[in-house]
Symmetry: C2
Subunit: 268 residues, 2 copies
């Protein structure tokens, strides 16, 4: 394995750019290739079988480009397809569920942990299983919040509408002693202010992007795969479809301009 090779980051769409953002901040010298499967987004409302089939196509494409590590930024894929991807690829594969669950287990002060995610992620039970292992005494409440993804993509992240939607999904959690909430979807950090307002000031919000970046740094260090070149790191953004409004949405998630987007054709 070549330490100078890029890190591959895969997501169903633009949401994983919040993970890439944290990765660039933590590991600024690493080359990266990001692939968003924008021709098939969203994954979160599909069956597990379809999610795995889509994810394998994208992961194989990234592996063929010589990445040294695959970061699965998509919670839905991490929940349903991590084993299938690890079996299919010759490189390490790391998902978001384990780092997110680990941080929630550390932060929780013995109360209840809430997991917020897409219908597919919640239905998979992956966070719930990880938390049973990492925080066996905690009560876990899982809650699907399907409208958070389209709200984040539309850019309606603050104000009346996201506030009302968050209240409807999460208002009852205030009475249930929740002390920690895991944002189990890459889109949700954009709505974290609205979510925090509903849950109240005493609830710790866990964004798996930062935990994931820590986990990637630790894994690369352990395998001797950290890049030590002095030349500027290179970042490529690939997508399977580039509709007109893609760039604006992508910049909102990455927090900086997305200058060049390469279209890759993974459709039949």
């Amino acid at each position: 394995m070549n330490a100078g090779a890029p890190i591959g980051v895969f997501d169903s769409g633009v949401g994983g750019l919040t993970v890439l953002r944290a990765l660039l901040a933590r590991l600024p010298r690493e080359h990266t290739i990001y692939l968003g499967d924008t021709a098939r987004v969203p994954y979160g409302t599909r069956s597990g079988e379809v999610v795995v089939r889509y994810a394998l196509m994208s992961a194989r494409h990234l592996a063929a480009r010589g990445i040294k590590l695959l970061v699965v930024a998509c919670n839905t894929v991490s929940a349903h397809g991590l084993h299938a991807l690890a079996d299919a690829l010759p490189i390490p594969v790391i998902g978001v569920i384990e780092p997110g669950a680990r941080m929630a287990a550390e932060r929780s002060r013995g109360g209840c942990i809430a997991v917020l995610g897409t219908p597919a992620t919640i239905a998979s039970g992956a966070y719930q299983a990880a938390l049973r292992r990492l925080a066996p005494l905690a009560t876990v409440i899982a809650r699907a919040c399907p409208l958070f993804v389209p709200l984040a993509e539309e850019g309606w992240t603050d104000g009346e509408v996201p506030g009302l939607v968050a209240e409807r999904y999460l208002g009852d959690l205030r009475r249930m002693g929740v002390d920690t909430a895991v944002l189990g979807c890459t889109h949700y950090p954009l709505l974290s202010r609205s979510i925090a307002q509903v849950l109240g000031p005493h609830v710790s919000i866990v964004d798996s992007a930062e935990t994931m970046a820590e986990a990637v740094a630790a894994l690369l260090a352990a395998k001797g795969l950290l890049r030590d070149g002095d030349d500027a790191a290179q970042h490529r953004t690939l997508c399977t479809d580039v509709p007109d409004r893609f760039r604006a949405v992508a910049e909102r998630f990455l927090g900086r301009p997305v200058t060049e987007v390469e279209l890759v054709d993974l459709l039949p």
Copy 2:
């Protein structure tokens, strides 16, 4: 062509069931096969090229099942891919744009016509072009309303949230002399009450499902293809992915129980 053959109805997902519902009411003796491409829904935020490629796969599958006519219930496909489908298939193909635009042109009392649709439908300019031809003196305002689709799928069709969302998308139309609004997406009829409340009581709302059913009846009559059997009509529902919550969503759109859903594999 066999008059006893079923009518094929194609949509990107469950939204076209509102068109099927109108078709069953208008033509109760016709057999139907409905195909929802739920493995790739939504189409409305994708590029035109990808929309056409997806639509061709589904349309060819329906044609191979011996349908006598293809109804394209999806506005996004009707806007981008109607010519491609008509060229590829040996049967008549009918879309929703022309019937919807025709009814809007008839209803408008010389004022302004608003077209509401997905980003892809609005960007295609298909409704705008049809209305320029059918109502050359009318002013046309086209407005993309991306959150209406996820709201309808979530079942949040009345109350505070859809009201606020509709106000944010459409509130300014009240000052623009709109007298007719076309619901240019199969999901939007579920939100028609919220939309009407924002636009006010003097605006006529055009739902292309009913106009489409009329157009289908006229076309079948003209071609001598109306079925005249006395046996009960048969209805089949096909989907390319069947996630857990599919049936509940489908019943909301069709307005009656969806007993059996057949999974068809159109993925690579």
